[in-house]
C-alpha cells in the first residue's frame, strides 16, 4: 500500500523537482486529452512546445507575451509572501492600461519621446490607485482583500467599456468600440526590426532583479515576509502589518499597471474592450509555479506564455477548442499543488 510520511526537513531536491514533475504530468495528461479528442498527441505536443520557439519571430512573440505575466507575477509574489491575497491584478492591469491610454491619447504628432515615460508612469499610477482602493478598504474597514480586489476587476472592465464605447471612442473608427491608435511618440519603442518585442522585456527583467534584491537583501523586504510567515513574530518584532499591506498592494498594483501600460502602448496601440486578456489571473499561477521567487517566475512566465501561444496555434492549426489554454493552465496548477506534497512528505511503499 502507498503511505505518506512526514519528512524531518522539507526536501530541497523536491522543491526544485516538483515543478518539473508537475510539467511532465501536465504534458502526459494533455496528451491523453488530445487522444480523447481524436487528435494526434505528438502533433499537439509539437504545436504547444516546439512551434512557439521554432523561429526568431516566434521566440519574440513568446517573450512579448511573457512580459506582462512576468511583471504581474512579480508583484503578486511580493503580495503572497506578505500574506496579502491580491486576486485582482487583472483589474489593476486594466486600470494601468486605461491611465496609460488616457495619457497616450493626449499626445499629438509633435510630442517628444518623453511621452513614453509619461505613459508608463501613468500606467503605474493607475494600477497603484486601483490596488490602493483595496488596501484602503482593508485597512480602514477590515474588508476582505480577496473579495474586494476580485470584484474591482469587474468594475475596472466596466469602466474600460464605458470609455471605449463612450467618451474615448475614435470618431473616425466606423463606430467600433475603440480609441484612435496612439501617436508614434506615445508608443513603446521596439527592440529589433522584424519583431514586435519592445523595451518592456528588459524593463521586466530589471524589475525581477529589483524585486529579488528587495525581498532578500533589504530589511523592508524581510519584514514583508515575516508578516506572511509568522504574523505574531512580525508583531513581536514591531513590523507594522498596515505598512506591509500597503507596500504589498501598491507594489503589485504598480507592476500590474505597468504591464497594462506596456500592453496598450506596445502591441495593442489603442484601447479596446479586449485589453483584459486574463493575464492578471494567469499570473497567479505563474507566481505559484515560480515558487514566488523572481527567478522561478521568469521561467514560469515563459512556460505560461508558451501555453497561451500554443493554445492559439492549436485552435488555428488543429481545430482545438478555445478553452485548451485554460485547461493547460489549470492542469499545471493542480499538478503542481499535488507534486508539492512531495516537498514536505515522502511516499513509501509498505504497510
Amino acid at each position: 500500500m502507498l503511505r505518506v510520511e512526514l519528512r524531518a526537513q522539507p526536501s530541497k531536491v523536491w522543491s526544485y523537482a516538483s515543478p518539473l514533475l508537475a510539467l511532465a504530468l501536465t504534458v502526459l495528461i494533455g496528451m491523453a486529452l488530445f487522444m480523447l479528442l481524436g487528435k494526434d498527441p505528438l502533433r499537439g505536443l509539437q504545436v504547444f512546445f516546439w512551434e512557439p520557439i521554432r523561429t526568431p519571430y516566434a521566440i519574440g512573440e513568446l517573450l512579448l507575451k511573457a512580459t506582462p505575466l512576468l511583471l504581474i507575477a512579480l508583484g503578486l509574489a511580493v503580495c503572497f509572501r506578505s500574506n496579502v491575497w491580491n486576486i485582482g491584478a487583472e483589474g489593476q492591469f486594466v486600470l494601468g492600461a486605461l491611465a496609460a491610454g488616457g495619457v497616450a491619447l493626449l499626445a499629438g504628432p509633435d510630442s517628444g519621446r518623453w511621452m513614453v515615460l509619461a505613459v508608463l508612469l501613468a500606467g503605474v499610477a493607475g494600477g497603484m490607485v486601483w490596488a490602493g482602493l483595496t488596501a484602503w478598504l482593508r485597512d480602514r474597514f477590515h474588508a476582505n482583500e480577496i473579495l474586494v480586489s476580485l470584484m474591482l476587476v469587474y468594475v475596472a472592465i466596466q469602466l474600460l467599456g464605458f470609455l471605449v464605447y463612450g467618451p474615448w471612442k475614435d470618431p473616425l473608427g466606423y463606430n467600433f468600440p475603440q480609441t484612435k491608435t496612439f501617436e508614434a511618440a506615445a508608443r513603446i519603442p521596439r527592440l529589433f526590426d522584424g519583431s514586435r518585442l519592445n523595451i518592456g522585456l528588459p524593463i521586466a527583467l530589471a524589475l525581477a532583479a529589483g524585486i529579488w534584491l528587495y525581498l532578500f537583501r533589504t530589511l523592508s523586504g524581510f519584514a514583508q515576509q515575516v508578516g506572511g510567515l509568522a504574523p505574531a513574530a512580525a508583531r513581536f518584532a514591531g513590523f507594522s502589518s498596515r505598512r506591509a499591506l500597503w507596500i504589498a498592494l501598491l507594489v503589485s498594483g504598480g507592476l500590474a499597471g505597468l504591464a497594462g501600460a506596456l500592453e496598450v502602448a506596445g502591441p495593442l496601440g489603442q484601447l479596446t474592450p479586449y485589453v483584459p486578456a486574463g493575464y492578471g489571473f494567469a499570473a497567479i499561477i505563474v507566481a505559484f509555479v515560480g515558487r514566488l521567487h523572481p527567478v522561478g517566475i521568469v521561467l514560469s512566465a515563459l512556460l505560461m506564455s508558451m501555453f497561451y501561444i500554443g493554445g492559439e496555434l492549436a485552435q488555428s492549426r488543429l481545430g482545438f477548442p478555445k478553452s485548451i489554454t485554460g485547461v493547460f493552465q489549470g492542469l499545471l496548477l493542480f499538478s503542481l499543488l499535488a507534486c508539492d506534497t512531495l516537498v514536505a512528505y515522502r511516499i513509501k511503499w509498505g504497510k
Binding site: 510520511e5 524531518a8 537583501r217 530589511l219 524581510f222 510567515l229 509568522a230 508583531r235 513581536f236 514591531g238
Partner: protein, 524 residues
C-alpha cells in the same frame, strides 16, 4: 510484588525520521501503584505514552496488559482495554457544557441526562466538585482538568495516564489532585504520572522509571531519593549551580503605574491598576496561574499592544506607553516571549535571519542587509551560548525547544539591554538548558540590568527572583522579598487572596474578592 503487572512493556522501539524517540524501552507498572516516568523534555516520555494509548504505533516491542499480550491500534481500543489518558493540553469545546463535552467521548447509547447523573456521582465519589451543566468557557483551568479526569474515570480505567498534570495548577489545587490520585490508587487503579517536577514525584510516587534520550536509564523509589540524586539520574550530570548574590538594587528602570487595559480578546483578562517597579540589578518575578493577565501585561510592556494610557509604562523616566516595540528596544527594553516558534522566532527562517526580528546591527543604509555580518553575529551567539544547531542558516524549527530558547534569550542578552522582560524562560526546556538560561539571567542582573521574569513555575521564581509579585485576575499583588516568600503564601496569593496594601491584616483585598471566590471554587 509477585502479582502480574498491570502493564508491562518490553523492548519498545519507536523511530521518527531522524530520531529514535524510544530505544528498547522496558516498563512495568504494578496494580494500584502510582508510577512516575521522569525525564527531561525530549527524553521520550510523551512518545512512550502515545504508544501505550494507541496514538502512535511502536516499530518493535511487546506490550502486555494484565499479562495478556496486546496491540493497541487506537485510543478507542486503549479505552476498551481500560487505559485512560489525561493530556497536558485539554481537548474540550469551550461553547459546550461539561456534560456535553463528556458525552461526545462516550458511547452514544447514553442520554445526556444519564451522563449528567454519572458525572455527578463520579465527581462526588472522589470529592471533585463539578457542575455538569456549566459551559466549559466559564471554568478555570483547574476545573477544566477536573472535567478531563472525570471523563477519564467514567470509563472505569485500570490504568490512568497523566501527562504533566500540575503545570496549570496552584499548589493548593495540586494537593487536592494528589488526594484524588491516592484514592484511585488505593482502589486498585494504576497511575502513570509523567512529570519533570521532582518534589511532586517524591511526594506522590513509590516507583519511578527515569528516561534519558529515548532510553530507560534507571529505576528508583523516589521517596528515598533527593532532588539532587533524581536530577542526576535524569540528566546524567549535575546542573549548573546558581550564584546567589545579594546586591543593593540601583536606580529605577522600569516603572509601571496604574496600568489599566481592557483585553483585546473577548476571552482574555482585563488589567486593573497594575503598578510595578524594577530597578537596575534586580530580578523581579511575577507568579500566577496562566490566563490571569500575564499575556496582556506582557503585550503592553513589549509594545505589541500600544493602547496603554500615557505615563503608565516608563523606562528610566521616558514614557514608552505607546511606543512601538522597535522604539522600546532602542531605549534598551528587550523582551523574550513565551511562544518561541511563531512569535520569538520565525519557524521557517534561519537563525541568522531571525536575529533581524529584534536587532538591526547588520542593516546598512537604505535597509540593506549585510548577510556576512548577520551570519557572523549568529555564529557568535551559537558559540557563546553553546547552542546545538546546524549553523547560522539552520531554520529555527529544526532546533530543540531548549536550544531555540537559548538562542532567543542569547539574542536579547547579547545587545546589553537595560531592561529584560522574560516570559516563561524555561518552559518546555530541558533541565540542563534551563539551568544555563537561569544563570545567564542572573549574570545579566549582576551586570546591572533590570530583569522582570513572568513564570508559572514557582521553583524557578524562588530560585532567581529578588522580589516576587503575584498576578491574579488581572490584578497585581504587592511585592515580597524572596526571603519572606513561601510556597503557601504565594500559592494563596495566586488565588487572588492577598492583603490590601492599606491594611496590614491578612484579609482579601476588595478587588481580589471575585478571584477569591473563583479560587475557592477551584479548590473544591
Amino acid at each position: 510484588m509477585s502479582s502480574t503487572p498491570r502493564l508491562e512493556l518490553s523492548a519498545i522501539t519507536k523511530r521518527y525520521p531522524g530520531v529514535v524517540a524510544n530505544d528498547n524501552v522496558a516498563l512495568s507498572v504494578e496494580p494500584g501503584s502510582i508510577h512516575a516516568v521522569l525525564g527531561e523534555n525530549g527524553a521520550g516520555k510523551s512518545t512512550l505514552m502515545k504508544l501505550i494509548y494507541g496514538v502512535a504505533k511502536p516499530d518493535a516491542g511487546v506490550m502486555r496488559f494484565n499479562g495478556q499480550q496486546v496491540q493497541v491500534r487506537n485510543p478507542q481500543e486503549a479505552r476498551s482495554l481500560g487505559i485512560s489518558m489525561v493530556f497536558q493540553h485539554f481537548s474540550l469545546f469551550d461553547t459546550l457544557t461539561v456534560a456535553e463535552n463528556v458525552w461526545l467521548g462516550l458511547d452514544k447509547q447514553l442520554s445526556l441526562r444519564e451522563v449528567v447523573e454519572r458525572i455527578e456521582s463520579k465527581a462526588s465519589e472522589y470529592g471533585l466538585e463539578l457542575d455538569p451543566r456549566r459551559p466549559v468557557h466559564t471554568l478555570s483551568v483547574g476545573e477544566r482538568q477536573r472535567v478531563e479526569i472525570v471523563r477519564a474515570l467514567l470509563t472505569r480505567p485500570q490504568l490512568l495516564i497523566l501527562d504533566e498534570p500540575t503545570s496549570v495548577l496552584t499548589p493548593q489545587a495540586v494537593e487536592s489532585l494528589f488526594v484524588v490520585l491516592r484514592q484511585l490508587a488505593a482502589e486498585g487503579c494504576s497511575i502513570l504520572y509523567i512529570s519533570h517536577k521532582l518534589h511532586e514525584i517524591r511526594e506522590l510516587c513509590r516507583a519511578c522509571t527515569v528516561m534519558r534520550a529515548g532510553r530507560v536509564v534507571g529505576h528508583c523509589d523516589p521517596s528515598r531519593e533527593t532532588n539532587a540524586s533524581l536530577s542526576r539520574l535524569m540528566m546524567g550530570s549535575e546542573p549548573e549551580l546558581l550564584r546567589a548574590r545579594d546586591q543593593a538594587p540601583g536606580e529605577l528602570m522600569l516603572d509601571v503605574r496604574e496600568l489599566q487595559l481592557a483585553s483585546e480578546d473577548p476571552f482574555g483578562t482585563d488589567l486593573h491598576g497594575i503598578s510595578l517597579q524594577v530597578r537596575a540589578g534586580e530580578v523581579v518575578g511575577i507568579a500566577g496561574v496562566s490566563g490571569n493577565g500575564q499575556g496582556e501585561l506582557l503585550c503592553a510592556l513589549s509594545g505589541e499592544d500600544r493602547r496603554a494610557a500615557p505615563g503608565s509604562v516608563q523606562l528610566a523616566g521616558v514614557d514608552l506607553s505607546q511606543a512601538s516595540p522597535g522604539l522600546r528596544r532602542k531605549h534598551g527594553l528587550h523582551f523574550v516571549p513565551e511562544e518561541r516558534l511563531g512569535r520569538g522566532a520565525v519557524p521557517t527562517l534561519g537563525l541568522a535571519h531571525n536575529l533581524l526580528l529584534t536587532r538591526h546591527d547588520a542593516v546598512g543604509p537604505l535597509g540593506w542587509l549585510r548577510l556576512g555580518v548577520l551570519r557572523a553575529q549568529a555564529d557568535e551567539i551559537i558559540a557563546r551560548y553553546k547552542i546545538k544547531a546546524g549553523g547560522p542558516d539552520a531554520v529555527a524549527r529544526s532546533l530543540s525547544g531548549g536550544n531555540l530558547q537559548k538562542f532567543i534569550v542569547g539574542r536579547e542578552i547579547d545587545c546589553n539591554p537595560r531592561v529584560l522582560i522574560v516570559s516563561q524562560p524555561t518552559w518546555g526546556v530541558d533541565v540542563g538548558a534551563a539551568a544555563h538560561i537561569r544563570s545567564e539571567i542572573l549574570a545579566l542582573r549582576d551586570a546591572g540590568c533590570a530583569v522582570l521574569v513572568v513564570s508559572e513555575e514557582l521553583d524557578e521564581l524562588f530560585e532567581i527572583s529578588d522580589r516576587l509579585h503575584v498576578i491574579a485576575d488581572g490584578r497585581l499583588s504587592p511585592s515580597v522579598p524572596r526571603a519572606e516568600a513561601t510556597v503557601e503564601r504565594i500559592g494563596a496569593w495566586m488565588s487572588g487572596l492577598w492583603p490590601s496594601e492599606s491594611s496590614q491584616a491578612e484579609q482579601p483585598a476588595r478587588q481580589g474578592l471575585n478571584a477569591a471566590r473563583e479560587a475557592t471554587d477551584a479548590q473544591g
